[in-house]
Amino acid sequence: MIGPSSTQSLSLVSIDVGSVNTRAFFFDNVEGRYRFLAAGEAPSTIGAPAFDINLGVLEAIDQLQEFTGRTFLSDRGLLISHENVDGVGANAVGITFSGGPPLKVVTVGLLSEVSFDSVNKLVRSSYCHVVESLSLNDRRRPEAFIDAICQTLPDLVVVAGGTNRGASRSVIRLVNYLALALNLIPENQRPHVLFVGNENLQEEIDNLLGALTTLLHSPNIRPNLDQESLGPALQILNTIYFEIQAKKLSGLKELRDLSEGQIRTPALSLGRVVRFLSNVIDAPKGMLGIDIGASNTLVASAFAGDLQQRVFTDLGVGGSLPGMIAETHLAQIMRWLPYDLSEDFVLDYLHNKPMFARALPASQEELAIEQAVARQVMRLAIGKSLDLFPPNAIYPLAGTVPWFDRILVSGSAVSKAPRMEQSLLIILDALQPVGITTVILDQNSLVNAVGVGAEIDPLLAVHVLESNSFINLGTVISPVGNTRGNGSALLRIQIVREGRKEDVVEVREGGISTIPLSAGHVADVYVQPLQNVNIGLGPGRGGWVRRVVGGVFGLIIDARGRPIQVPTSFNRRQEVLKTWQDALTRS
């Protein structure tokens, strides 16, 4: 990435190429602070009919020029230079890309509970689709593995196994099977191999595989039995991802060159932002980030800087919708629809959507289906990510997400909802947070740009995240536990603003309510459970929540319990969904 030559303030163009949309963002220094100033957007042009990523990039930048009145393009391309001054180009460029298909990956490890788990966790942290796996627990004959590699033609094989100074013979045996398989594939079509296992075996691995294909090493992801270290391998995986994709996708090489090779995936960018924000949160509460796209859904969580993330290449609201459909009962979609739509209508819509991934819903009814889909995709993604969260986090209710201090949500399906109460409800219904959580909406799909920009200047992330470019929807208190179920009083809440106590508010179980607290305003809140519910302080325990920051919907009390129950009969369901939406509309 082209970055600053010194600690000077700089202007930045950030480009984000997704499977459906390509966006260009412009950040500049305004009165000593970085500000997000404008964005341009165009359909991505990775596939038919254009087959050139850069056509979409140019169109997005062209829009940026139109909106800002600034010249970013010349006959020679994007104007990026440290010397650029007001009105012309930018000083730096950052690029994120996730537009291509996921890499087809084969994973190899020793034991299920150790290196094999870790290597699968590694590839699931990036844009990979595992097409075949081999471990010592595998009961198949090794020939079956070799034949499978030839038939699936993977892009990449990731081999783990052995702690440093640990197992070696078993690793070599598995690698030898791989060498046999590679021999069967024509030389120019062999997969890259990334070795992430016992570092003492690197020379032997070089001897076995080095002459056969492109072989890369990373520090051991399991240096010892108790330690897992995916970070360095993930960085190398990022590099391999672009190297392989650049050979397949027209225009990506030029985009990489523009960024001087330092192009990032959105997963890395989101992870950077989430980890950064987690460092300002009191442990053991954590930070959660979710980015829901047409083809991929990203989940990143961090507790005191310890980042864990997962990329779901089979979950999305566009091209990857079949992945959601395969794991979902129609009733799980229908339950979020406030309209009396037939199952056939909804099914038809769901199956047409992947074919027209960039199309917008044409009616309120279709919009409701897409928002129901967004809920279900996020719900599946978070449900499959529960193993990412540390056991020593705070779990007010077993089997749910832990207490996240903040949740950041990105993705047009949520952020571009016509009304913000729709965005908030999608997030609450899908993620069903517990404890006391501030919900931040990435209304401008900026998170990738901020993550990649933070590598150029960390201050950019600080300033933009503190600005109103990200919308604070409000702070949600979510009491969980066994309630009486008769709509009786659940919590007593008192707000203290600027030292002045306000009237005590009583909240009943079963619904959503709000207490006004404007964006940017701070208050102390006393919460007293009136039943044996947990707001994160322990069953039945209340207490002060200090310095709650207001947002669009102020203080939100989600007293619907966990998991949220939606009536199955349409009339009752319509009434309940309307009540929940109205509660936010009135605030």
Binding site: P49, L208, D348, F356, A359, A362
Partner: protein, 351 residues
């Protein structure tokens, strides 16, 4: 904005590149005329193998065993052939457990290929071979009428086109399917009846082109042996007027149904090709355009899905639509149905 395009062409030159995923063997030569079901290339992707561990068989170290391997990569061996070890009574030997070819040797392990089930690459379009990429594939050209669909059940077929009714919304029902349709490719507006699809399989027909198919029949459609191409998608949307008119004019002609699954990344789409011999070499369809006033467009989603109209004005991004969303759009004059505002992302050009 670069517009997506659906092609409905009465006469054009269709060019298709067919490539193997790995190096293999091209089975045709330039100038050959192929049917859609003909194999044009083959690759050795489906072979099965046996691993023979010479170190274990000979009871010695890998290094020593490697030196005693008697056969090289590429050699054919019969069952019982000595592959490793010294000849002579009392010497341990590794013999081939089955006939095959030595495919690879690594660390004294020998990979024996015991079957050769090549995967064949079908032409999937009828036409003439105009170019060859040695070892990888071919380019095929065909002149004829061409209609692209949006979904296919991955099958391939050839037959005589037969219109089920004279309306583009004509539903296909079981009572319309009889033995006289044996070998035909049926064209209808919609289909909601399982029995119609099942009966068509029994006749059997050679293919089915529909405007749309109800989603509940999707599992059945994926199992059927004959190809199905949907022009509009899933649901009850009739076939668009232009496609239906074209099918009406070529009814009775032989058509190829390439019901391949759509892939936006490589541009694959299901398609119907009606070869027209002796038509010269008409130009290929224009590959890429932007939306402009006066262009014919096809609506992809919403209540107007499947309708065709002309762009009368381009609308700014601040334009709001009934969903409550705003986006750049176009005012589209629909044939006989007035004018509607549609987001550009919900439109495609008709090529």
């Amino acid at each position: 904005m670069i517009a997506p395009v659906s092609y409905i062409q009465p006469l054009t030159t269709i060019r298709r590149n067919r490539r193997l995923p790995v190096d293999g063997q091209v089975l045709v030569k330039i100038g050959d005329v192929v049917h859609s079901s003909d194999a044009v290339a083959r690759a050795n992707l489906e072979a099965s193998h046996l691993i023979l561990d010479s170190a274990r068989a000979l009871g010695m170290s890998v290094d020593r065993a490697a030196k005693l391997i008697q056969r090289g990569v590429g050699e054919q061996v019969e069952a019982g052939t000595i592959i490793a070890g010294r000849r002579g009574v009392g010497n341990r030997q590794l013999r081939a457990p089955a006939a095959g070819q030595i495919a690879a040797i690594s660390e004294a392990q020998i990979l024996l290929q015991v079957s050769d089930e090549s995967s064949l690459l079908q032409a999937r379009v009828p036409g003439q071979i105009t170019d060859i990429d040695p070892g990888r594939g071919v380019t095929i050209e065909c002149v004829g009428a061409w209609v692209q669909g949006v979904w296919g059940n991955k099958r391939l077929g050839e037959g005589i086109l037969h219109l089920v009714g004279d309306r583009q919304d004509q539903a296909l029902t079981a009572d319309q399917v009889d033995m006289s349709l044996r070998g035909a490719i049926l064209v209808a507006g919609t289909c909601e009846h399982r029995q119609a699809l099942e009966l068509a399989a029994q006749v059997p027909i050679r293919g089915l082109v529909l405007g749309s198919l109800t989603t509940k029949l999707l599992p059945l459609a994926l199992k059927l042996a004959y190809p199905i191409v949907l022009i509009e998608g899933f649901g009850k949307t009739p076939m668009n007027e232009d496609a239906f008119k074209l099918f009406s004019t070529v009814s009775g002609e032989t058509a190829t149904l390439n019901a391949q699954y759509p892939n936006p990344l490589n541009g694959d789409r299901p398609e119907v090709i009606i070869p027209i011999p002796d038509a010269g070499k008409p130009p290929q369809a224009v590959p890429m355009q932007s939306f402009r006033v006066g262009q014919a467009v096809h609506i992809l989603v919403g209540a107007e899905r499947g309708l065709i109209g002309d762009i009368t004005a381009l609308l700014p991004s601040s334009t709001y639509y009934p969903s409550g969303l705003h986006a750049t759009g176009a005012s589209v004059k629909l044939l006989g149905k007035g004018e509607v505002g549609i987001p550009l992302v919900n439109l495609e050009l008709l090529g």
